[in-house]
Structures are given as structure tokens and as C-alpha cells.
């Protein structure tokens, strides 16, 4: 059973704004799931529907096997949530806030000490009022409050916003440990490198509609990579190789784009006197941009049709 299952989940604000349209996904236990899309794509709306902050216009969602609308209190007891651009009680100290928010769960915060240490939140920092905190410090407190009670599921909205690269790395380490511990992470982001680095699967939303959902590794494997080959003598014949496009040969330099399996391409190079070969690694960014280019928008506020790699319409995509 999925940790999060949505079936045709939709949310309209009035008649004009369709924030989320027919979202059907299933998130598996123990995975780190990336929810990707630009600002305004519907990521935060989806999260707020899962937590019961919003009421769906259509469809339904279950979280940890519980109905997101009817059982939202029971869900929130087992979930850790980091809102995007978190607001805090500025008059409290960092420590007082963490104590207060932990007390509201009515149970201990077993992960706090570890999180505080890994995110380098010193004791004297935690004793200062939150109004004195920088944006990055506030984000660290946000991460700690979301994870300190060791939730079964963590829903993190733009978790590395405001963190410096070192702290981002520390945060990714925390996610790796949570994965090992069997926790499920639902991570919303528009930072592609982040999703590529930590997520097992990724859903891409655009204008409220799901445009792709698949393994990050599979998505990257299918992406178009740029290839350059410097040859001595005659250039190899690559025209007929599967996945090759945009072939240009000039002054001993062969450049092309390669999509899909690399083996036929390498086989075609056998016999050629190759002086140098560069295959640029595939990045999610290209995948993301390609998907966006493929999915034309239909009308204001509505997304276009999902491309062929999107799962079946009407049921959760697994």
C-alpha cells in the first residue's frame, strides 16, 4: 500500500484558477519522492491538500492509509512538515520553539540532538530569539522541527531554500539516513540538482497537471546527451546509429546528441581512430526542460496533455 495515494486530486480556487488538476500518484514506503515544478505549478497546493489545510474540489488522497480530509489530525500526528518559507514565532528562542512544537505532538523528540548537531545549530544560537536568526538559520530550525519527532513520513516544501552549500550537503546526509531508517520523504523542490541528488522517483507538475512520473535513474538514462569525438583520419559512420541526432563532422571533430542506450553508439566507434571522446552526463535539468517543451499549455491555468511517459490517467501512477 502506498504511503501517499492520490486519485484524481484537484483543487480550484474559484472558477478561474485551477491550482491542481487530476493528480494521481502513489508514493511507496521508504522512498524519497521528488515533487518537481516551477513556482505556481501546484506543488504547495498538493502538499496542503495532503495535510488537510485545503479541501479538494475533486478526487481524494490518503496518507499513511488515512483519508487526508477526514483523518487529517491522525495523519499530522505521524507526519513531519516543513512549510515553504517557514514563519516562526519571533519572540521565542530557537530552543523554546522546538520544545513547544514537540510538546504539541505529546511525545519526545528523539532526533533533535542529532539534527541540531548535523545542522550546526550551537547551543548559544538556540538560546537566542528567533527574530535574530538569518534566513538560513530559520530554515535549519524548520528542518529540525519537521524531523525531530522522527515521523514516518516527512513532507518537505523547498527544504534547502536559504541553506548554504555545506548545509545543503548536511541536509542530504540526513535524508540518506532517513532513507536507511525506512522513512518516507516527500520533497517538493524546483532545484533540479537537488532532486537528482537525493530522490528515487520524481513527479513533474506543470500548471497543476502531472506531466511525468518515473525513476530519476530511468529519466536520466533516456535523456539526450551531447557527445564530442576527436578522430584521427576518417570519421566513423554514425548516421544510422539508434539515438543519434544532430550529427556534425568538421575538421576531425564529430559532435552529435545521443539519446537512450549508449552501447550501439560505442559499437559504431569500433575501428575508428579516436583521439578523444566526451559524453556529457545527463542532467535532470535537460529532462525537465524537454518535458516542459513537450507539454504545451492549454488555456490559462490549465496544463497541457501529459506526454506518453506519464502513467495511466484515472488511477494512481506507481
Amino acid at each position: 500500500m502506498g504511503i501517499i495515494v492520490t486519485e484524481g486530486l484537484s483543487k480550484d480556487y474559484g472558477r478561474a484558477i485551477h491550482a491542481l488538476d487530476d493528480l494521481s500518484i502513489e508514493i511507496r514506503p521508504g522512498e524519497i519522492f521528488g515533487f518537481l515544478g516551477p513556482n505556481g505549478a501546484g506543488k504547495t497546493t498538493a502538499i496542503r491538500l495532503l495535510l488537510g489545510f485545503l479541501h479538494p474540489t475533486a478526487g481524494r488522497a490518503t496518507v499513511l492509509g488515512l483519508d487526508a480530509e477526514r483523518d487529517s489530525v491522525a495523519i499530522r500526528r505521524r507526519v513531519g512538515y516543513l512549510p515553504g518559507g517557514i514563519a516562526l514565532y519571533d519572540t521565542l528562542t530557537g530552543l523554546a520553539l522546538l520544545d513547544y512544537l514537540a510538546d504539541l505532538y505529546g511525545r519526545p523528540a528523539p532526533r533533535r540532538a542529532e539534527l541540531v548537531e548535523r545542522l550546526e545549530l550551537a547551543d548559544e544560537t538556540l538560546r537566542r530569539p528567533l527574530r535574530d536568526y538569518s534566513r538560513g538559520m530559520r530554515q535549519k530550525i524548520g528542518i529540525v522541527q519537521a524531523l525531530q519527532h522522527d515521523p514516518e513520513l516527512a513532507i518537505l516544501d523547498e527544504p534547502t531554500e536559504g541553506l548554504d552549500p555545506l548545509m545543503q550537503r548536511a541536509f542530504y546526509g540526513i535524508l540518506d539516513d532517513l532513507r536507511v531508517a525506512g522513512r518516507t520523504i516527500f520533497l517538493s523542490s524546483h532545484v533540479l540538482a537537488e532532486v537528482e541528488r537525493v530522490c528515487d522517483r520524481v513527479a513533474i507538475v506543470r500548471q497543476g497537471r502531472l506531466v511525468a512520473l518515473e525513476d530519476v535513474a530511468a529519466l536520466l538514462a533516456r535523456r539526450r546527451r551531447h557527445v564530442e569525438i576527436r578522430v584521427r583520419g576518417a570519421a566513423p559512420s554514425l548516421d544510422a546509429v539508434a539515438g543519434v541526432s544532430g550529427l556534425v563532422v568538421r575538421d576531425g571533430l564529430v559532435s552529435c546528441d545521443l539519446e537512450g542506450d549508449v552501447a550501439p553508439f560505442l559499437a559504431a566507434l569500433v575501428g575508428a581512430d579516436v583521439a578523444d571522446l566526451t559524453i556529457e552526463p545527463a542532467h535532470l535539468e535537460e529532462a525537465f526542460l524537454e518535458l516542459y517543451a513537450e507539454a504545451p499549455a492549454v488555456g490559462a491555468g490549465r496544463a497541457g496533455h501529459a506526454p506518453s511517459d506519464v502513467g495511466p490517467v484515472g488511477g494512481p501512477v506507481r
Binding site: Y13, L54, H55, Y81, A87, Q145
Partner: protein, 271 residues
């Protein structure tokens, strides 16, 4: 009700509560002192016929109080704009900002990410509001009783009647608090919630004062919540249970509205 949230709310308001308590205690202290110092002199002047009876009747009617008796002086202080303004720090200010203020600051979603139902949140905030009002009014009563004892007029004061006035006053402002909390639960911004709460209180006050000054307007006085606190009568031992029932009914309706409306609302991301 959530004890952790209630405790945190009390802690957050403690400095404000202390200031209001001290101010109301001082204000309550003034009433018996003024009565003891000037009440008899005013009565002599009135009895001398220097001031027309119609004028003194009018003065004794304003707000239901006068300074020619201890009960009247306390009643005047009780519904005086200074006392009303001080109580409104909680009955209007706190109640109106309790939900809408958190929403505007963006902290509501941090709170609601915990396992607290929205109804639980409303009930907890209302209990806090009524508690603040009760303590504030108690401070007024303590100040009054203390001054009455120190100035030698305590025998004119019935402690049971003073308690009844405290209950009557707490229920009236608890009704205002419920209306303000209902407004707070209905808006994403503080300004409209505060505007509705304050507007309702000012309109109520105006209608009551207007009715007491202008006989033709007495018919609209029941529309005002202030009409249901008849302080001189209460201090004379004549508390009308119907007044309490009306105030409890208003509070119940407003609170019920908040308990139905708030869980049905969408809490969109803070803008």
C-alpha cells in the same frame, strides 16, 4: 482543548495581561475613592436644588451609573470607556488576532501541522480569551474592594453582588470575544477581523449610550450587549438571569459559527 497551546498562549500574553490587570485594578481603586471623597458633597449640591433635577437624573442615567452612591460609582467605572478599552485588549484585540493574526504572520500552518484539530484550536483560544477577561475583571473588583475597605465605605458593598457583577461583565465581554474570534476564524487578514470586532463593540456601546440619553431610542438598546449589564441593579442585588442567558446565547452562537466555519475554510499558502 489543548493544554500545551493554552499554556503557550498564556505565556505569550503575560506581560500584556499584567499591564491590563494593574491598570484595571488602579481604575477600580479610583471609584470608591472618588465616591468617598466627593459623593457626599455632590449629594449636598443636588439636594440643595442648585442643579435641576432633570440634569441630575440625566447624569445618573448615563451608562447606568452615578457617583451619588457607591454602587453607582462602581457601575460608572465599570462601563466607562477607560475600563472598556482596557478589557478590549483581550476581548477584541486578542480574540480578533487569535486566528487571523497567526494566519497573517504565517505561523498558523506551523501550528496546524501538529495534531491539533481546528475546532480544538478555536476552543483553546476561546478558553484563553475568557480567562484573560475574567482575570482582568477580577483585578477591577479587587481594586474596588480594596479601596472601599481603605476609605471606610466597605459596609456599603455587598461582596456577593460584586461577584455577580463580575460574572455579568465577564459574560458580556466573553460574548464580544466570541464574536471577535468568529471574525478572526473567517478571514486571512487581521484588519477585517479587527474591524468587525471593534465595529460591533463600538456600535453596541453607542446604541446603549444613545438609548440612555434619548428616550425615543430606548427601543434599540436591547440590540446592544451593554444593555445586558445593568450594573447598579446587579450591585443592588437584582441580577436578572435573563441578561446572563442572552449573553451566553450570543457567545454560543458566535462560537458555534466559528467551530463550523473554520474547519471548512481553506488555509491557502501565506502570500
Amino acid at each position: 482543548m489543548n493544554p500545551t497551546l493554552l499554556l503557550r498562549t498564556w505565556r505569550a500574553q503575560r506581560a500584556k495581561l499584567l499591564a491590563v490587570v494593574l491598570a484595571l485594578a488602579a481604575w477600580g481603586f479610583c471609584m470608591p475613592v472618588i465616591y468617598a471623597a466627593y459623593g457626599a458633597q455632590f449629594q449636598h449640591i443636588v439636594d440643595s436644588g442648585l442643579i435641576p433635577r432633570q440634569m441630575t437624573d440625566l447624569l445618573s442615567d448615563i451608562g447606568g451609573g452615578n457617583i451619588f452612591s457607591l454602587g453607582g460609582a462602581i457601575a460608572l467605572g465599570f462601563i466607562h470607556p477607560i475600563a472598556v478599552a482596557l478589557i478590549c485588549v483581550f476581548a477584541v484585540g486578542f480574540a480578533a488576532s487569535a486566528v487571523a493574526g497567526e494566519r497573517q504572520r504565517g505561523t498558523l500552518e506551523v501550528l496546524l501541522a501538529r495534531p491539533i484539530s481546528r475546532r480544538n484550536l478555536i476552543v483553546t483560544l476561546y478558553v484563553a480569551t475568557v480567562g484573560f477577561i475574567a482575570i482582568s475583571f477580577a483585578a477591577f473588583m479587587v481594586g474596588t474592594a480594596l479601596a472601599a475597605g481603605l476609605w471606610g465605605v466597605a459596609r456599603e458593598l455587598d461582596p456577593v453582588a460584586l461577584g455577580a457583577l463580575w460574572l455579568n461583565g465577564v459574560l458580556m465581554f466573553a460574548a464580544f470575544g466570541a464574536v471577535c474570534l468568529a471574525a478572526s476564524a473567517s478571514f486571512d487578514r487581521l484588519t477585517p477581523a479587527l474591524g468587525i470586532g471593534l465595529g460591533y463593540l463600538l456600535a453596541s456601546y453607542f446604541v446603549d449610550v444613545l438609548g440612555s440619553l434619548w428616550p425615543d431610542a430606548r427601543g434599540v438598546q436591547p440590540l446592544s450587549l451593554f444593555h445586558y449589564v445593568r450594573a447598579p441593579a446587579v450591585l443592588a442585588g437584582r441580577l436578572d438571569p435573563v441578561d446572563l442567558v442572552v449573553l451566553v446565547a450570543v457567545a454560543t452562537v458566535a462560537l458555534t459559527y466559528a467551530l463550523i466555519r473554520f474547519p471548512r475554510r481553506d488555509i491557502a499558502a501565506p502570500s
